[in-house]
């Protein structure tokens, strides 16, 4: 029975670890300037954790194999672990402690690099409105100014997702509102996240970025995309029945394509 246990645990540990190691399922390619640091942090954690995982499971398997008895009859004297609990305490504290120090030290720099730095001065500012169950994006238009948002004017029925007041507010008249996030490549982007109704989240796996929308708060989020293409933005915070289908496309365009797109949209206003 002990040998069977050992074999099963060993097989489970090795197969599980191998699938991780072979990247059978893995992160999509990174398209952001900051993502490589997150990936490196994740890879390093994976290696350390992987070693600990395999070592712990194999130690368990080996001891069970070695010290199991078929029936209660065997009268082999028991042995205490050499040195008692002290080596265990030292091992755990030192190994895990060092890991914690390293991970915290490196990891908090990565985190700070994404969330605790101000956006680049020339960042393109885009407002994001999250609602049940779609994202809408607003560009300032030709005047470079965003019109004010008025909750009492917000209406899906009138396609007024941001609650703009073009009748009285001239800065709102040229605001461009679209359902896809279109951004130029290699340009710092600053999003201002608004939520209209409940909590939502902004998650683009390829961009290695995620942030909750919280009603009543405007949360800034900045990043730079490096590869043109079409990606999916999904909601990761439970927001109601349509949560699974709350998405938008992120289109990263070359500078020229983006300018052309913006011009067309502005003309349509």
């Amino acid at each position: 029975m002990g040998k069977l246990f050992a074999v099963v645990v060993t097989v489970i540990a090795l197969v599980s670890a191998a699938i991780f190691a072979l990247h059978t399922w893995w992160l999509p390619p990174d398209i952001s300037t900051h993502g490589s640091r997150i990936d490196r942090q994740l890879n390093e954690t994976m290696i350390v954790v992987g070693i600990l995982f395999v070592a712990a499971q194999l130690a368990l398997a080996f001891f069970v194999w070695r010290f199991g008895v078929g029936s209660a009859a065997t009268a082999r004297p028991v042995k205490t672990f050499p040195g008692g609990p002290t080596p265990m305490v030292v091992l755990a504290t030192v190994l895990v402690g060092i890991e914690i120090l390293v991970l915290t030290f490196v990891g908090s720099k990565v985190w700070a690099g994404v969330y605790q730095t101000p956006p680049a001065p020339g960042a393109l500012q885009i407002e994001v409105q999250a609602e049940q169950f779609a994202f809408y994006f607003r560009y300032a238009g030709s005047d470079g100014k965003f019109g004010g948002m008025h909750p009492d004017l917000m209406s899906d029925a009138n396609e007024n997702f941001f609650g703009l007041d073009p009748a009285n507010d001239t800065t709102a008249r040229d605001d461009i509102v679209v359902a896809s996030l279109v951004i130029p490549v290699d340009q710092p982007i600053l999003l201002q996240l608004h939520a209209k109704d409940v909590n939502h989240a902004f998650y683009v796996p390829e961009l290695r970025i995620q942030q909750d929308f919280v009603p009543g708060m405007v949360i800034p989020l900045h990043f730079t995309a490096t590869t043109p293409g079409k990606y999916e933005l999904v909601c990761t915070q439970l927001c109601g029945l349509g949560h699974y289908n709350m998405r938008a496309f992120v289109e990263v365009k070359t500078r020229a394509d983006f300018d052309q797109w913006l011009k067309e949209k502005a003309a349509a206003q």
């Binding site: 779609a134 899906d156 997702f161 359902a179 029945l241 289908n245 938008a248």
Partner: protein, 236 residues
């Protein structure tokens, strides 16, 4: 689809049986609804969130809250008898409301209280139907692909906005009326109310953005009276 077809047959059959109504004289009111003023900007609906629906529309779809036609005609105006109704038999045919290509078809559905209403999902994905009722009981249900049609009816007269939260641009109206005499204007802004016994009627036209207008019409016998409406449009 089979269920729907059967339902259609049933409706037709019911209508046929009910047709030879014992009515000595029945008049008709018809007319056209137009607008004056500045229309709100027609916006293209951005359906990019749901690629299924984008591909269903070869040309981009525009907003349906102010659809106009040739000669300043206005579509989706509900014209109905708001006073003078003489207790006509209740409408029993089923009103169909479809969700197709991430639009409500028709955009505005008029029906009588207690008239059967059937809601279908013809799209290959889920919708939720959320009638924002205030007087009637509000409800909000998803209809995934493959789910049976939703059969329901309304108890009180009310103009009920309908929305789909999964596709926020989807917007329509259930106009629930006390009278069986109602019509929704077509793409040329025209309507006709039929089967009206002689009497004095108040005819009301309602549009979701351009408001309400009424006029009195008297039907003497088997005649057709004209009632035209001119609504005022505002840009915002």
């Amino acid at each position: 689809m089979i269920v729907r077809f059967t339902a259609l047959i049933a409706v037709v059959a019911t209508a046929t049986i009910a047709a030879p109504r014992h009515q000595p004289a029945a008049g008709m009111i018809s007319g056209k609804v137009t607008y004056t003023g500045t229309l709100p900007k027609v916006r293209t609906i951005d359906m990019s969130k749901e690629p299924n629906c984008v591909t269903q529309h070869p040309t981009p779809v525009t907003t349906q809250d102010a659809v106009t036609g040739p000669g300043n005609s206005v579509r989706y105006v509900v014209v109905y008898i708001s006073a003078g109704d003489q207790g006509a038999p209740a409408a029993t045919d089923t009103v169909h409301y479809d969700q197709k290509g991430c639009l409500y078809i028709p955009h505005v559905a008029a029906m009588q209280v207690h008239q059967p209403l059937e809601i279908f999902n013809d799209d290959p994905h889920s919708h939720n139907i959320h009638p924002l009722a205030r007087v009637n009981a509000e409800w909000n249900k998803s209809q995934p692909k493959g789910a049976p049609p939703i059969r329901t009816s309304w108890d009180q007269p009310e103009f009920i906005p309908v929305k789909c939260n999964v596709h926020p641009w989807m917007h329509g109206y259930f106009v629930v009326l006390a009278t069986p005499h109602s019509a929704v204007t077509d793409s040329t802004g025209e309507f006709s109310l039929t089967g009206l016994p002689p009497g004095k009627y108040t005819v009301t036209a309602w549009h979701e953005r351009f408001g309400t207008q009424s006029q009195e019409v008297t039907i003497g016998g088997s005649e057709t009276k004209t009632a035209n409406f001119v609504l005022t449009a505002r840009p915002y």
